[in-house]
Amino acid sequence: MTFQQPEVDTSPPVSDEIRKTTCYMCACRCGINVHMKEGKVAYIEGNRDHPVNKGVLCAKGSAGIMQHNAPSRLRAPLKRVGPRRSGEFEEISWDEALDIAQGWLEPLRKDHPEKLAFFTGRDQSQSFTSFWAQNFGTCNYAAHGGFCSVNMATAGIYTMGGAFWEFGQPDWDHTKLFLLFGVAEDHDSNPIKMGIGKIKARGARVIGVNPIRTGYNAVADDWVGITPGSDGLFILSLVHVLMKAGKIDLDYLSRYTNAPVLVNQDKDSADFGLFLRDDHGAPLVINRKTGQLAPFDMHGVRPDLNGSFQMGDVTHVSVFRLMAERYLSDDYAPEAVAERCGIPAPRIRAIAAEIARVAFDEAFELDREWTDFRGETHKTMVGRPVSMHAMRGVSAHANGFQTCRALHVLQILLGTVEVPGGFRFKPPYPKPATAHPPPHCRVTPGKPLDGPHLGFVQGPEHLALLNDGSPARIDKAFTWENPMSSHGLMHMVVSNAHAGDPYKIDTLFLYMANMAWNSSMNTQGVMEMLTDTDENGEYVIPHLIYSDAYSSEMVAYADLILPDTTYLERHDCISLLDRPICEADGAADAIRWPVVEPDRDVRGFQSVLVDLANRMKLPGFTNEDGSAKYQDYADYIVNHQRKPGIGPLAGFRGDGTETGRGAPNPDQLDRYIENGGFFLKHIPEDASYYKPWNMAYQDWAVELGLFDAPQPYLFQLYVEPLRKFQLAAEGHGERQPPDHLRVRIQDTMTPLPIWYDTDQQGNAGFTVNALTQRPMAMYHSWGSQNAWLRQLHGHNPLYVPTKLMRDAGLEDGDWARVTSPHGEITVPVMEMAALNENTVWTWNAIGKRKGAWALTEDAPEATKGFLMNHLIHELLPPKGDGLRWANSDPVTGQAAWFDLKVKLEKAAPPKDLTQSQPETPPQASPVGLGPGTLTWKVGK
């Protein structure tokens, strides 16, 4: 019998053309191949040549086509016609929209530039938007980092000149043990997955430290279901055990860190706790070869970890001695921390031992010669194959700054940063805090700000305070309440502006941030503040301009909407001046370009900013003859120069062959497009590790224009600027903190990392930790408008550990009333066993307001979905001292999302419940509703 089967065309044409650009479904910025059929987007896949994703693509990236075609896209500029919150708008022309914006902004610029608060979300053009704000002259600019992960960023930069997040990555090719703290997804979405896959294929092991065992933590070989907020204690206990056993890299510590630097021990001195420095300001060490004082960077010096030095009456001892004193203390013994961390002491020891084993017994060498900044040449590069990564689980707590610091100290003690097998920076990092500018806040009407808004303070002198000591900025960034708030405090803008504290503003200009919903703490409160009116019936925040691409919740609260394009319809620039796409092995930047033209009356927001700048003739945008420097954003990307020869894009400069430095090249964008939308320059082999101290790297970075002169530095186990704030709190120096903050500053701004419990006042009776996680297949609120993705996460149950389910008499499908000191929600529950037994959690930002995102009002996102944000307040519960303390890290102002404590009880029987609470009344949809059935096919 012959077997017959149909003929299948196994070689159909795939598409007419591939256009290569950069994904924007999250901040990972993978390269994509956009397959076009008849001029339409037909299919999106990863770009194999791209340094970030090397061909792979996540669910969101593949679903980009549904995002690009979403019915929720805004279609034209909108002017509010109903009250704020109603969502009632009329479509207007761009001319009218820009006239309105100009009409509001121009007078402010002339008289009170600070009355414009311009805050942007997770866009990737912060070097441009901040340049715009600086030229406008307002001091009130920041992006979203303050509520996102500023703890991580600052702790990393102050400690080692770069952080986890997107500043660095494990050496996936060599690492043998990977520890992951508090990460669900992170910005490096695809690289982390690729890395985990790669090391697992090699048989290397992963330890996941996380109260919740999903995703990365589910594939981790060992899972440590830690009690939220206690990581610092766990980490310092590892430090304790490793130090006690001598399992630390003394050679590394003495050469590359400030462990040998001498610290003033005179309690009465204004220099107590500060470094002993030479006349040039270089910190001093004892040279073990001579026993004499020497600057840390002197050629031939062997800094002594055990150094001490008597100068007059004043003793100076090495940082390392201070560390030994602190961390060998029994306070950090595993037995002392086990209960608080929820990890048995033997397990802490087992993990420490495994770290020690891999770091030291599995050490290896790469045959690569390199020369350090002291002129010493090393024949090989020593690998310590233990790598670590952490993110918001560590940083989104009010002790997150010090916890992140502790983690870096652990890495550094093991000698596993910037070595083979360890953690490596991505250009433009490493870059020490001292190489960043301090923050600027001096406003002069009609003039640009005196410098970049955001930066790194080195002491009280850099705080953004007015002469009367009051905060210069609306978000109170860089004040005594949170001195190192390097990313600003976007989560405080609305409430401060509403309260007129420190002052009132006129126009709130937001870009790409859903502040009336999922990116706010106290969502209900924020919605009320945005709609609140004064005695004259005017809105307390008079003008609100917003740029979004979609019909989000925030849209309903704005007076004027500047509709953006989708990511496939505009130019964008992912720049080395900003948050580039570099890998540890190379510097890289990328663009987006209009692979299709918009079919709606929308404009790329950056181009709109250029237009506004031109209308107002902002200095940085205007030639001497008064003409506009840039026609649009593409023009800016190509022709803007930060410094002579250095512009937003590093590739194909000058005649197209120059890299990093070079004159603007009018063909630059075309060259990027030909190259797949990105540019990559590899780091030479001998420069690829030990970057902070490796002269080959330093020279390479200077050549590329990352910095102007080599800037080798030491890792700061001991962070002197923190000590300076403590000194001020102790009464030293001219700028003095208000009295009520003195104790807190002394307690929390310790120059060596410590762990302290977060403020528990007002939490009595609320004992269960409540967390959120990012779903891998959803990006914040954007995902729900995506017909494919919303089928995966159409609503979000509250995941409750088995024991709490039993205690509350709950079963899957039941609803629970969850209460915090601040609010109450009623939500569906689902049991989960692989979960810390005192923690509940849900997926972040799935809940939607009715009427938003072109979804029907009975969409599950709006009926069963919910936001945890209703339970989280931007302020802590009142303590009775007349003050409301911020629910933030006292060092950086980072929003402490994950300090939330709740209690839960069973709600009415499921039959009676179809709507999660609180329910927000619907907003009108300015874009109508999406279609019912979708049969999406572009080709015939």
């Binding site: 089928q791 995966l792 996460h793 159409g794 609503h795 689902m830 989960m832 066993a833 692989a834 599950p860």
Partner: protein, 296 residues
Amino acid sequence: MHPAPPVIAFTTLSGLGFGLLFFLGLGLPAVTGWVAFIFYAIAYALAVGGLLASTLHLGRPERAWKAFSQWRSSWLSREGCCAVVALLTMGLYAIGAIFLETHWPFLGALGAALSIATVFTTSMIYAQLRTVPRWNMIPLTPALFLTLSLAGGALLAGQESKATGLLVLAGLTLLAYWHQGDRAFDTSGTTIASATGLGTRGQVRAFEPPHTGTNYLLREFVHQLGRKHAARLRVIGFVLAIVLPLLCLALPVGGLALKHALAGLAVLSHIIGVACTRWLFFAEAEHVVGLYYGKR
């Protein structure tokens, strides 16, 4: 399994129709002329109606004819073929009976055999499925279809004594089917442990489903039925399909009209009862795929 009305209607009605044809083919009763016309009309209405109903269940009913091609391997195809041949054969036989007042016994026997074979093929569509342990019971599942079809056919054909015996038989089969069916899933060997291959590591529990909404599989294969509800329906179905018709047949009544009325009641009750058990046949059947969704 989702108790889809077209499929319930199909199996119930065509089962009865072919059951009636079976008896007509055997000349029980050996009717001719107008009376034959009415009998055949009823039989064809049921059989063809059932078949047509089943096409409502198709995604592409206009292509239903393609289903005749795979009789060599597919029970569904066999059923289609068998049904058509049975209907044609019995059609010819019916022409003889109605218009020519003749019975061709050989043709009738053949038609009867084909009719009952059709019911068997129908039953095998379900009985062959290992994925649904409650159905995957040979010979119980075919026996159930056949006895019900024959009992119903006998009722419709007015074969009282045969109907009585067949109803008893069908009733016993139904009880056996339920009894064994209740154990079928557990004895099938398919569990969440074998479905995931993770059973050796510990107790397996379905956690998050692949999506928050529903899908074809859940709609089609996962039908959660309360135990109490099922038990109640079993009683109702059994009483209506078996007990009440038996009572009707057994009642010693005199008048012809009353007798006919009772016979009519028996038939009606039987049809509703069978439909009810058929609903249960689907609604109670659990597909192993439910295991992947933590449901069965």
